[in-house]
Assembly symmetry: D2
Homo-oligomer: 418 residues x 4
């Protein structure tokens, strides 16, 4: 029955993938289900720090209309102001610690494969939203979260303490985690678990201490100058493209760092208009990376200084917008140790360390919990994959969902069981 | 009757404006009319030097289909391979000099005004091609040329020598003149007249020696490098955007010239793709200007050197494409003197010198004729305007067309009359 | 006798050329002579606005010792604190206007010719200070000023009003004029005359309205960053050389100006130390020019913005030091008209307009007088030259000195005679 | 007695430190001693490949005169054409392998300390050459080599095979090793040992497998353009300083490499002359580094491309001069193993691995031997130091010299003893 519910949710979500910050259908269905199961529901700016929202440029009304058309819950949709994402709070009313779980809910900008062998197509639950696809298993994460909520409701009498289920929007591009962490709902959490399906591990494996999470900042820069006729009065312009070119050149020259790997890229630059007009506007998209948060900070601090200097040189104004951010993750050692025997009981093979090698904004949540004295860990629930993450033929072995729920439930019982 | 024919042609052409290099309808109608009147018709690469074509990126089949739909002459359309423009040769079979006239036939990328007061709209002969408009009076120039052809046919018995009527494509952006000049059909011309309607002169005025034609080169540059993942192997890229930025910065630094006004602009730059990809491709649009051909050459020579150097610095390849070119114009003094009394006879007030202040690729034709020992001049046929050139409400006083024909006819008779 | 005195002074000064701001001998001899003749003597910061001194880096004690050794007047030398230059005020004690004259007194960094044909060498009055030479006729200007002082003393009873004789230091490099103008001693001047010997005019000619004085700003920029070991911790540096390179590149790219000639140059750049040290310091020397003060201001304003921006980009501090400055000159028309008949009386041929084509910091004095409601003019006293200005064989026809004095005296009498 | 000889040689050499490529006294004294002991002496271009000499700009005659004055051997000095450095070949005339040793002989540009506690000063054997000092123990290395030569002569009857003692010039700045390797004298060597005193190891220790030798290229770049008056004809210049600035900026932007540490620095730049002259000349000093030879090659290849491109952009010519080069070192494992028991026999404590962390051009010699099928190793002979290497108070415990000789002798006997 758990397996049926997991499959149901996963496929319904897979059929309706929603972009980062557009998860209106997903959010309302989760909210309604949590509500039905007796959870308190927390939404919007109760959950997210508005000023740290990144990479969100959406047409709210159009997205809500689309979501409604695709089966969003109308009443919850009405209650959502603008921000997606939802947290369910279950309170035993008995003293005890607060545990938390994080599930990310957004989809990826990938056109789902139409090939015959692709399971979602065969089953008729492939993406109904052209250009978007659950190609990173967040449908599976959300399904686990929803079935875990059912298990909590079923176990209600046997637990003490409190449980928070965080359904995070906009993990792709590392855009939502920072705002969720800063929202404050994690500050009283004693222990947090986040999981990800797949990622270099096979069905039946659990990686309890993944490493090498890349720290990165994604940013856009705009230079706003003054256009002028290049022939008639070149002196009247403030050349935004010249500023962008000098900034780009200077960014590429940010010195290497003694302490380890750093990266800088300006991936795209567009500036100017007519051939005979001094460019009044330019925009670039870039990213910094670092092996550690300090190294990434070093890089991004220099980017900011360079942009300011380049703007000054050309007499333009500028805007720097963070479009995404990820920091490192270091699992709490005691929590790692606690998970190993629990995994073994449900026949998951535990792998201690494996390279993650990508970015994850769960890092902000984990850091927040640890800074407030709690424990936190990010684990990989292995799964056989049909194709790599973000690939049009991505699919994962749904059989791993049930052990995923079991692991989280076992941990709940170990900590909160009476 | 002449006035009726002028109005008919002008308005038909105004109704069907065609972009540079897309003048298939216009070309075929002219060709047919010249043919009817007994002219030999010269087309395509008989007329234009293919290797000097600039700024031509069109879908020939789509444009031909559009032209056919809008009334192009099917047989002439079939004879056109790819290149627009047409010359009519009238040969008296009696010894004598060769005179030539140049009329430009293309329209401008301007959306024609829908305002009630705009005459073409009132008369129902406004542009049928969205986004394109005869907003620089080339419809008037072409009408003059066609009616002049009629006059020549009518005067046939009274003339000796030969007459060449050049209907030039792609004057806008200075894209066609150089290829037309190099095509060789001007090499035996003893005297060439080109005229332009409007341009700082009013109805009833004729400027016989306009000055300050700007020399300019319009160019596009592409840098082709090698994309690479900015995080995983930054060393594997050849950063085309970095090359474009350095080239842009260096171009802006081309030294001023002792001998007079120079200009440089990079009006647009677009490079790169994804934020985390080292840009493998970049493209920029620029222009140089100079008060003299030598000054413009100085500028463009430096541009070429800079582009080559920037490409080398980043290990990319590059392409520089001239997208347009204009040189200066110096009217042959004897020809100026010859026109003054002719103008007075038809009650045109002659103005000796007035600033032109823009670019004109008739300069190549004039230079070619003068280099081969002929005389050539570019004159302004004043006309009251509804709005400036290239403006959505541009319109000119059609009453100037008839005196325009009369002037050219009078000159013909003065030179070739028996 | 006047001719003897002129020759005496000119040759004594020629023998002892002194660099800008080092004119201690010259200043004391002038002061003593003015004092003897009954003038009040104004020195140092009574004369010059200290905060606008430019391009002055000298060893005062060494220069004073040298001057003393070469015949400086000991008592006046003791009264000079640090600043050279002197003004003599002659007050008739009768009501009347205040007239002023400006004579520049410094020499040029040129090694005087040893060739046999060079007159100063023949006469034994060639430069006694290796590397320095009166190669711009300031020795002649000063001689005229001193003999004019004698004439004023002789004419004392016949004059009303007041006369100020300004002996300006540091004209070379345009370093002293701005400070002299701002010193305030010109603010009550009703009319000022400045003259220059030579400059495209021959003996017997007087140019009363020279034109095309170049506006220019000479500047040094220092970037102070942080050195660091380039191998061990490149991140710890703030690369002053990188800032200087980017500033240089950006300065070269300051856009041309619609209104006329502009120039920019970075003539020298020195930065860094050891090969394996990130440069902590860099210094560059540059200049802007413009056909008008507004054009030069446009250029120098951009230089300042660029330097600030480049420093910001690299996290360095910076200093911009003006090392010299010249503005344009426009003679007061009424004063020009007044001089023409006076010149004719002493058989000087007046030339109205001739190109000056260099920089002169008398412009600041002239502007100051004109801003305070007075009249001012700069005239060229033609002289046959042995070689161009600043040339090792420069010499001028001493016969022009006497008419120079006569012209100034005639003007004095015309204005102040009773 | 060995100890006395070692001290004698070391102190005599310390007293007479000679710069890289100026080791004329040292070379002749070694040559004479080798000759006395029966070695064949190889000099100059018999030893070094002339085209790979780096960083050598000396006044040969002045240096030879100085050396003669300081006790150089006159006859050997006469035999030296220009190049310093010497090899002694000892041939047993009995079949057997060829062993080789490398000792570097040059001093460092450091002013030796005058402090009372500094031993060389106390003993009166401090540097007689102001500004130069044996502050890197090459005096000790050379002393070991000379006493080893004595031991070989003493052991002559007991050995077979051949022995080559390489006394290498110009190790500082990594200027001589590449030329020595390419000279060919190492090509028949079966096993090579090089040693260095000090370097993070204490008296009594021997590091048999030091790691992390930095690969580096030291280079100078000159840009030769065309000076021009910046005001009068800015177009006539080819701005060498602009080329240098753009090259510097671009070099700083060489992308990081996936495979590990890289470095780039432009440590010094000097360009231009007068403030109002477009710079016709500029020179910069730079270095690349890499964790591996491939990484350093990657960096230096990009430097070359950038310099060529920057020169092209400004229309200048350029010169790139390698001023030094070092590659990595990987000791032959079998040779490491062979040394361990030999060291233990003479009571040296062997340390397997320790970070070297600097550059050594012995790498070229080791690579050459290994490429020709031989074995080679670089070992650290620990020594207590008074101050770090290259410090004005550097001094080392002379007691380590004797065990150094013993180790080399023991190895000789183990390999060549009969």
């Amino acid at each position: 029955m758990t397996q049926d519910a997991l499959r149901h949710w996963r496929r319904d979500l897979h059929r309706h993938p929603e972009a980062a910050w557009c998860e209106f259908r997903t959010t309302t269905l989760i909210a309604q289900r949590l509500h039905e199961l007796g959870f308190s529901v927390v939404l919007g700016d109760q959950l997210l720090a508005n000023n740290l929202i990144m990479g969100r440029e959406i047409d709210v009304e159009a997205q809500k209309a689309r979501a409604l058309h695709q089966g969003a819950h109308p009443e919850w949709l009405a209650r959502i102001d603008e921000l997606t994402g939802v947290m369910g709070l279950w309170d035993s009313a008995r003293p005890g610690p607060t545990l938390a779980f994080r599930f990310d809910i957004d989809a990826v900008e990938v056109e789902e494969s139409q090939e015959a062998a692709h399971q979602p197509g065969q089953g008729g639950w492939h993406s109904a939203n052209p250009g978007w696809m659950h190609a990173c298993a967040h449908d599976g994460h959300t399904a686990i979260g929803l079935v875990l909520a059912e298990r909590i409701a079923a176990l209600a009498d046997r637990l003490h303490g409190r449980i928070k289920l965080f359904f995070q929007p906009a993990e792709e591009g590392c855009r939502g985690g920072k705002a969720l962490a800063a929202g404050g709902q994690l500050d009283d959490v004693d222990a947090l678990l986040a999981l990800h399906i797949g990622i270099h591990a096979s069905s039946g494996e659990l990686v309890v201490n993944p490493t090498e999470f890349l720290c990165s900042t994604k940013f856009d820069v705009e230079f706003m100058g003054q256009a002028a006729h290049a022939g008639l009065e070149p002196n009247a312009g403030h050349n935004a493209l010249a500023a962008a070119c000098m900034a780009t050149t200077a960014m590429l020259g940010i010195p290497r760092h003694r302490d380890g790997m750093t990266r800088i890229n300006v991936g795209q630059l567009n500036g100017g208009s007519g051939r005979n007009v001094i460019p009044g506007h330019a925009r670039l998209m870039g990213e910094t990376r670092g092996a550690t948060p300090a190294l990434n900070d070093y890089m991004f601090n220099q980017v900011q200084r360079i942009v300011e200097g380049a703007a000054l040189m050309q007499g333009t104004t500028y805007l720097i917008r963070k479009q995404g951010e990820a920091i490192g993750i270091e699992n709490s050692p005691a929590l790692i140790e606690e998970l190993v025997p629990l995994a073994q009981e449900i026949a998951l093979e535990t792998i201690h360390t494996r390279r993650f090698g990508a970015s994850e904004d769960a890092g902000f949540l984990i850091e927040r919990v640890q800074q407030h004295g709690g424990q936190a860990a990010y684990v990989i629930l292995g799964a056989n994959l049909a194709a790599p993450h973000h690939h049009p033929q991505f699919d994962f072995d749904e059989a791993v969902l049930a052990p995923g729920v079991s692991l989280l439930e076992a941990w709940l019982l170990a900590r909160l069981g009476r």
